[in-house]
Symmetry: none
Subunit: 393 residues, 2 copies
C-alpha cells in the first residue's frame, strides 16, 4: 500500500508558512505500517488541485490531505475532489446543524458562506470535527483494478490531529489496511565522510535490502537510518538489532550513539558516569563547543565551563596544545579541550584540536575547507570525538 | 511562469526529518515574482523519482529540487533526471577535479563512489558548489511548445543557499512574469509580549487590511510580517513603507530591525559603525550570548570575546555589575556586558543583566519563569537590548 500526503494552500506554496502537518501525518502512517512515497503541496487554484488529486488517486492507494476545507472562496478541496472523481456535492443536514450550533454557542449567527462546509461529494463518509466548523471527507475511488481512498482533513493542526486519532485511525485499522508494521532506528557515526562510510558498509545501503539502511549527513555527523518492515513489532526490532550489530562489526567505534544523540550528549553522559569533568577553550568557533556542551549539561556537573579566546594572530599545534593543558589546570578539570585555526596567506588553512588529560596532551589537525558553517561544526565535533574515544579507552 | 519545488529523500517522506529547504526556496521565488504552485516530495525510489520529475516538467516551467545528489546508492536525482528527459549521464572533468581537490585539502583520497557526483545529463549547465562535493545541475527541457527548466541542488542548506544566491538567482533575473507583484517585509521588535504588542497596534493586525500584517514570536523576538500586493514593485514598496512608519509611530524603539536581523546583528553593526568594542561574561546561558555575537562578528573587530564563568554559588545584582565592569577592563573594551542568574530556595528565581561603559554601570533584573530554553534567550536578548538602547542614545 502506497500513501500520499497532500497539503493545500497558497500560504504554503508561497513559503509564508512552514507545513508541519505533513511530517506529522507521515510519522503516523509509518507507525501504522503504511509506506508514504509522495508528499504534494498545491496552491489555491482549482485546476491545479483537480490535477494533483487525480495524480494522487492514480499513483497511491491512500491519500490524506490537509487544508482547503474552510468556508472562503480560496478553500477548494471539496470542489476539486468532486471534480477529480466526477461526483456531485450534496448538502448533509446533520453537518449543517453542527456548524450552526457552533456559531450559536459563541452567540453568533452562521454566515451563509459556511453552508459550503456541509457539502460533501456523493458517496463520501463524513469525518466529524468536534473542534471546528469543517468536517472531513472520506471517499473511496476506483479506476479499473486500482483502488484508492481520499481522506480530506482541515489544516488546523489541533482539529486535524483529533480527527485523525478519533475517526481516521480506527477506520484504517478496521479495514485491515495496515498489514505491515514499520519501525525506525538511527545509528549515529562520526569520523569519516559519507561515501567512505558507505564503502565500509557495502551490502547494507543497497536498495531492496531488508531492513533498509539510508545514509544522511548533517554537520559531519552521519545518520544511518534503519527501516524495518514486518508482521510484528518484535520481528522489526529483531531485524533492527541484527542490522545494528552488522554496522558495529563493520565500522567499530565510528558509531557513537543512536536516535537524536549528538557527540556532546554521549561525552557528557560518559563524563558523568565516571565522575569526571571538562573545561574548554576555543577560538574561531564563537563558543560553539561550549554552547553545545552547556546545553546538554545545564547543571555544569561535568562541563565546568569554557573560554572564548580573543583573536589570536598566530595559532600553532603547540599553542593549541598549551591552551588545552591550561584549560585543564585553570578549570581544575579532568580534561581540557582546545580548538584553534590557523589562516595562512600562502597555503591551505589548518585547524588544530588538542585534548589534555592526566596522561599528557594529544592533538590532531586537518585542512580547512569551505565556509565556517561547514568546518566550524566539524572541528568542534573532532574535539568531542577525541574526548569520546579517550573516555571509551 | 509556474514553478515547482521538489524535495527528495526517504527521511522526508517517512517523517523522520522536517523539510525546511522548500519553504526557503518558495520565499526566494516569490521575491523574484515567480509563482510557486506545487511542492513535491518523493522517497528514494528511482521509478517514483522519474515519474514526479516528468510530472513537474510537464506542469511547471521551472523546477527546483533539493537532495539526492550525494555519492551513495540512495542518491537518485541525477539518474532520475537523465531517465525522465531521455538523456545520458556524462563525466565532467572539471567537476571531478573539484571533488578530488576537496578530498586532497582534507588530506584524504577521494573514494571511487564520489566520481558519480561529477556526472551530468548531457546538455546541462553545472552549478558550482564551493562548500561541498555535489555540484548542481541546470537542464532545459521542452516538449512541443512547453518549455521547462530543471535545477537540481544539494539538500545541505548551507551549500544549497550559497549556490542559489551565487549562480541560480543571477540566471533567473528577469524571468519573473507573475501578473501581481507580492512583496514581504518583516519588522523586528523586542521588549514586550505578543498580545501587548498587538494591543499597541490594534488597526494594523486586522484581517482584510492591505497591506496585511501578521504577528509571530520566536524566543522573545516579535516579527511583524507585512505582505503587500500590487501591480508594481514600487506600489508594494510604498504601501510597505507607509505601514512600517505606522508601526514605528505606534511602538517607537521597540523596533530594532528588519528581515532576518536579530539583536546581535544590529548591536554588532552599530558597534562597528562607532569603532567601539564589547566583551561579555555570562553564567547559566552556556555561552549563548558569545555564540550569537561571535557568529555575526567572525573577524572579532567589535566583539572581542566572551567568558563563560564556572558555576557561581551566589549571584547578586552587585556581583553581575562587578562582572560587567571587569569584562570591560580585562577585555579593554568600550562596553562590558554580564549575565547571571540567582536560584533561590525560598522565593522566585531572578536573573540580572549588567552593562558597563565609560559612564559607569547599569543593570536590570527580572524573574525567571519556566525552562532555561525559554528564559535563557530572553535574558541574553535583554542584555543585547540594553546595549542597543545605549548605542542609539
Amino acid at each position: 500500500m502506497i500513501a500520499e500526503i497532500m497539503a493545500i494552500g497558497d500560504e504554503l506554496t508561497s513559503g509564508q508558512r512552514l507545513d508541519t502537518n505533513t511530517q506529522w501525518l507521515s510519522q503516523q502512517l509509518e507507525a501504522l505500517g503504511i509506506e508514504v512515497l509522495f508528499h504534494t503541496t498545491v496552491g489555491d487554484d482549482l485546476e491545479a488541485n483537480i490535477q494533483v488529486i487525480k495524480n494522487a488517486l492514480a499513483r497511491a492507494n491512500l491519500v490524506i490531505s490537509t487544508g482547503g476545507l474552510g468556508p472562503t472562496d480560496d478553500d477548494l478541496t471539496r470542489q476539486a475532489l468532486a471534480n477529480a472523481t466526477s461526483t456531485e456535492l450534496k448538502l448533509d443536514a446533520e453537518s449543517l446543524e453542527h456548524i450552526q450550533r457552533r456559531f450559536t454557542m459563541r452567540g453568533r449567527e452562521m454566515p451563509p458562506k459556511n453552508q459550503i462546509q456541509a457539502m460533501f461529494p456523493v458517496g463520501s463518509r463524513i469525518i466529524p470535527n468536534p473542534n471546528g466548523t469543517a468536517p472531513g471527507i472520506d471517499l473511496d475511488y476506483s479506476v479499473g483494478l486500482h483502488h484508492s481512498r481520499f481522506i480530506a482533513l482541515p489544516g488546523v493542526p489541533a482539529e486535524m490531529k483529533e480527527m485523525w486519532a478519533t475517526t481516521v485511525v480506527p477506520s484504517l485499522a478496521g479495514k485491515g489496511t495496515a498489514k505491515k508494521i514499520i519501525r525506525h532506528h538511527v545509528v549515529k557515526c562520526f569520523g569519516v565522510g559519507e561515501s567512505h562510510m558507505e564503502a565500509l558498509l557495502p551490502d547494507l545501503i543497497k536498495r531492496g535490502r531488508e531492513p533498509r539502511v539510508g545514509i544522511t549527513v548533517h554537520q559531519a555527523t552521519i545518520s544511518l537510518r534503519i527501516t524495518a518492515t514486518g508482521q510484528t513489532a518484535q520481528q522489526c526490532e529483531e531485524a533492527i538489532a541484527d542490522t545494528v550489530q552488522q554496522i558495529q562489526a563493520a565500522v567499530g567505534d565510528l558509531v557513537f550513539g543512536e536516535g537524536e544523540q549528538e557527540l556532546q550528549d554521549v561525552v557528557i553522559r560518559d563524563l558523568l558516569a565516571r565522575g569526571e569533568t571538562l573545561a574548554t577553550v576555543e577560538s574561531s568557533t564563537s563558543g560553539m563547543l561550549a554552547f553545545w556542551l552547556g546545553t546538554v549539561d545545564t547543571d555544569r556537573q561535568a562541563f565546568l565551563g569554557g573560554t572564548i579566546e580573543m583573536p589570536v594572530e598566530l595559532v600553532s599545534q603547540e599553542s593549541v596544545e598549551k591552551a588545552a593543558v591550561q584549560a585543564r589546570s585553570v578549570g581544575n578539570a579532568t580534561y581540557g579541550l582546545a580548538l584553534g585555526t590557523l589562516t595562512k596567506a600562502d597555503s591551505a588553512d589548518q585547524y588544530y584540536v588538542a585534548l589534555a588529560s592526566k596522561d599528557g596532551v594529544e592533538s590532531i589537525s586537518s585542512g580547512l575547507a569551505g565556509h565556517p558553517e561547514i568546518w566550524g561544526p566539524r572541528m568542534a565535533k573532532q574535539g568531542l570525538d577525541l574526548l569520546r574515544k579517550k573516555l571509551i579507552g
